[in-house]
Amino acid sequence: MIGLSIPARRQLKSLLWTAASAFCATGVSVVLLLIMGYVVREGVSALSLSFLTQLPRPVGVPGGGVANGIVGTLIIVGIAAMMAFPVGIFVGIYLAVYSHRHLAKSLSYLADVLAGVPSIAIGIFAYTLLVAPFHHFSAVSAAFAFAVLMVPLVIRTTEGAIAVVPRELREAATALGAMEHRVTSKVLLVAARPGIVTGLLLALARVTGETAPLLFTAFGSQFWEFDPNKPMAELSLQIFTYAISPYRDWHQQAWGGALILIVAVFVLSVFARLSFLWRGGAGIGRGTD
């Protein structure tokens, strides 16, 4: 219909650009699938029961695993979550409930900017604060670095989740005589819970697999270590050490570790999105960065 009146040259140009954009979008997806496929192919051959349950062994000794790294990752991320979740959620609540205040506006922007600060700089911060004064590396310092990485993400998703709660709900509660803290705890937080949980899961996914700050905080270990005050093994740190080593065996183990890491991160981020959709939230949960 309209097409009849548009000269063929312009139509052809439009067609070519559309094809180019389709090529870009599918190309990016194909590269992702190629990377994932490669990690799965190489990783599966390294996976075995002993890989998941044993300690690392010296070069040349076959076998050995990354069990202490997996446990270390869980411990470090766990402690980080305990530090970051309360701060992130409470600041997020403040930003949403008092969104008209100057402090809230500037903090919201600050959290956005802080979410992009290089993790290595945060690692240095954790080092000067919690490693250097005590003269030894520790899992706690790594957890602190992770917490600083997570807090801005939790703040922003909590703020967003509360901000999309319909205004009428809040007004109704206030009209019934509920004070600010009751409106927040009994109405806003209940309505915003799916969105907040999504944010927490995405924050966990963000730090799982983060390596840079660990180099001089958790430092790594060859043994079982459960004391958060001591250097601790961590999975992504083990992958890094194995990958840059010259040994074929260790490269294979690095792929195995990468597979575990990717599965963990994907499960976290897919679950974050699904839990959000299932419970009927709207408006946030897209990981644009």
Binding site: S21, A22, L33, V87, I93, V151, A205, V265, S269
Partner: protein, 322 residues
């Protein structure tokens, strides 16, 4: 504002106080606000502490080398001479190439997802590209080191050299781990950011713009290039700044594929070094206080630059997406 007037009761006429609010509620309410503010100040303290700690940690280096630290090319722990130029060069060059590649591909991909893709395909591809953003950087590094690096030294490098060998950036021996490999890995890592934000920006454009352009007889591409993209160009600029900030600060993946040699070389086929990777590699080996201080100053430079770049980017994206 409105809810505060109701809750506080002070601004209502004739000092009216609602009877139903009992005193425990008043105390709780005050505690609630105060507590939340307390957490806000804790957060502010951490952010301030981050900047101050890095500044304090780099005082030795700041005193010893002054502003010349930024352009001195010597990095020699034996003679205790430290200069940041090779690292700044490597960081800026690898990130800028990555941004140039990722902006072209990412904007087009975002346009496709928002405008041209059939609905279901758009959703599937969009989710795939968002998953790309969730992949840990260590995995990109691993893939870059064992898969991409051989491809660069075996195919991409020789092909570029054959076609554009007269350019200084494509001359010399082709290493596997080099600036080009690092740029390509960074490109992959920042693509999702640009694609996803471009898609969201264009999808948020009012439908009537689209309809007006098409009704005036433009082709779908003309609608995109003359209406959609110009109307969100500042948002897209912001997305590119966010991506640039991420590329500048990327540590592990760059460390694994850039070659880690502190020299400034015109050729993209030669190894380089970035600010973040020298910190990652040498921090635990820094034997003297001055050495450590120089590394912390590198961290400070990285922090300041990325705060500025991301600050601008966030401002631009915020203006358009909220």
């Amino acid at each position: 504002m409105a809810d505060q007037a109701i809750v506080g009761g002070k601004q209502s006429p004739a000092g009216y106080r609602p009877r139903s609010i009992r005193w425990p509620d008043r105390i709780l309410s005050a505690l609630f606000t105060g507590g939340l503010q307390g957490f806000c100040f804790l957060f502010l303290a951490v952010v301030g502490g981050l900047a101050l700690e890095l500044l304090w940690g780099s005082r030795l280096s700041l005193r010893a080398f002054g502003i010349g630290f930024l352009w001195s090319t010597e990095w020699n722990p034996v003679t205790q001479q430290f200069g940041a130029a090779p690292f700044i060069y490597g960081t800026v060059v690898s990130s800028t190439i990555a941004l140039a590649l990722a902006a072209g591909i990412g904007i087009l991909a975002g346009v496709f997802l928002a405008e041209f893709a059939p609905r279901r395909l758009g959703i599937v591809l969009g989710m795939l590209i968002e998953l790309l953003a969730a992949v840990p950087s260590i995995v990109y590094g691993l893939w870059g080191l064992f898969v991409l690096a051989p491809v660069v030294s075996g195919w991409i490098g020789p092909a570029l050299q054959a076609a554009f060998g007269f350019l200084p950036i494509f001359q010399g021996t082709i290493y596997g781990v080099n600036m080009l490999t690092a740029s390509l890995i960074l490109t992959l890592m920042i693509l999702p950011t640009i694609t996803a934000i471009t898609r969201d920006l264009i999808a948020a454009m009012p439908m009537r713009y689209r309809e007006a352009a098409l009704a005036l007889g433009s082709t779908p591409w003309e609608m995109v290039s003359k209406v959609a993209l110009p109307s969100v160009r500042r948002g897209i600029f912001g997305a590119c700044m966010l991506a640039y900030g991420r590329a500048l600060g990327e540590t592990i993946a760059a460390t694994m594929v850039i070659g880690n040699r502190p020299v400034i070389s015109a050729s993209l086929f030669a190894p380089g070094y970035t600010v973040a990777s020298v910190i990652a590699n040498e921090f635990t080996e820094a034997t003297t206080n001055l050495y450590l201080s120089a590394l912390i100053e590198l961290g400070l430079i990285l922090l300041i630059v990325s705060l500025m770049v991301i600050g601008i980017g966030r401002l631009m994206v915020r203006l358009f997406l909220r």
